[in-house]
Symmetry: C2
Subunit: 256 residues, 2 copies
């Protein structure tokens, strides 16, 4: 029986990265695509509560691949796929991306691509987010496709524990320069934000977010370092944010 595979992203239905992922995913089953109708980078886990959502069918990946542009966020796309478009079908796998740009380290929490994958995991759908460390619209996805294929194949064969999602990042290198796959933890780091501050034509101050990613420490088992060393990084991630090691330490709060 054919598998049902949902493909989504945050760069929008027309991004080259999602086309690359559709091409790989269709080797494994029936693909359905629901992706934003405009770029939604940095949308994190936002959902649309205040407005209605629309879906527009656009068979841009061929006659046999139902594809929809959604007016909402990446997380809205997954919700609509699961609860409207495919409400009578099982979704066996959700793949999100291939993102134009890194989602390693703390970027996972800002990323619409990874939040879509996380939403699928909340729904009990095994899910993988893929990102290539190249922001360019003309990025070369050929190596990323090779590794996406390997990882999807393994996940489908071996299974992925429900509630887990994989955060896969691929270095900007030709396939033969990539050293392999490394299973990593999320690097501790943050954006040293820098706001561009300026004045608009009406004389009012405005601030525009920019910034530089800053790693807290070098750690070869962290995703950022694996990528710097030429590996594809895979971070098993989860939507249970509980800091389990802290549960006992905080018992003092129960005494007050």
């Amino acid at each position: 029986m054919s598998l049902n595979i949902l493909v989504t992203n945050d760069d929008g239905l027309s991004a080259p990265g999602i086309r690359a992922l559709v091409e790989v995913a269709q080797e494994f089953g029936q693909v359905y695509v629901v992706a934003p109708d405009s770029p939604q980078s940095g949308q994190g886990h936002a959902i649309t509560l205040e407005h209605p959502l629309r879906l527009k069918e656009q068979r841009i990946f061929g006659p046999n691949i139902p594809a929809y542009a959604c007016s909402g966020t990446p997380v809205d796309c997954v919700k609509l796929a699961k609860h409207v478009l495919l409400k009578n079908e099982d979704i066996d796998l959700c793949v999100s991306g291939i993102n134009h740009g890194s989602n390693a380290s703390i970027n996972i929490i800002y990323s619409g691509t990874m939040s879509a994958a996380m939403e699928a995991s909340v729904e009990g759908i095994p899910s993988i987010g893929f990102s290539l460390l190249d922001y360019s619209i003309e990025a070369d996805f050929s190596a990323a496709k090779i590794y996406a294929r390997k990882i999807i194949k393994q996940v489908l064969e071996q299974g992925l524990k429900e509630t887990l999602l994989l955060n896969v990042n691929i270095p900007k290198l030709p396939a033969d320069a990539i050293k392999g796959i490394k299973v990593c933890h999320q690097a501790e780091g943050h954006w040293a934000e820098d706001f561009l501050e300026n004045t608009d034509p009406m004389g009012r101050t405005y601030y525009w977010l920019t910034g530089k990613f800053t790693l807290a420490k070098e750690d070869e088992n962290a995703d950022v370092c694996a990528l710097e060393n030429g590996y594809v990084s895979v971070v098993p991630s989860m939507h249970d944010l509980t800091a389990y090691p802290a549960l006992n330490h905080l018992k003092f709060l129960e005494e007050v």
Copy 2:
């Protein structure tokens, strides 16, 4: 020396819940408020990349409490507070809320209130998000204030490990009916989404998100159950989403 305390939320600067939290926070130090200029529920960890941001000073909490309405998301508010308004000061604590409505269980990932607290933790600022299980604009925050005061006091006295944030939910009960505080893990659950489907005046179909929260299982150590049993729930949470127990199991991915 006085502590600097940042107060934010996702319901907006004019919400009764943030006023309640400002009243408690000012007992512990110099309060600064940066909150959205309009409700931002469900914004998750969204950041604003495509537009400039604006801040408007509004001393609505009294002459000694600098307060700003921000045109962006809750996470933008924390970034602007840290990197623009208070760039030359230490922020000793960030408190977010008091949210009108629960952020227990999986709601933590959709919540702008909790994402603001998480952003503070990414910046190394101890942070606590508070939510009252009452969506009403006329909600009674008196019991919530009592518990916010107790928890802030303890956290300031005992310290909070950097990278941790606390997700505090308060049941909709009079103070004398609350049984105490329980340190919990995040309940496994999800929204059984239901989209209201309808047709607009132009004859086009639209979908509007609604839904019902569904608990995966009863577990007295999970936040949802503690709340049902009349306790204030405190979940120590973190922005490192790595599923550490899965790291070894997934080593098979390195073999391909």
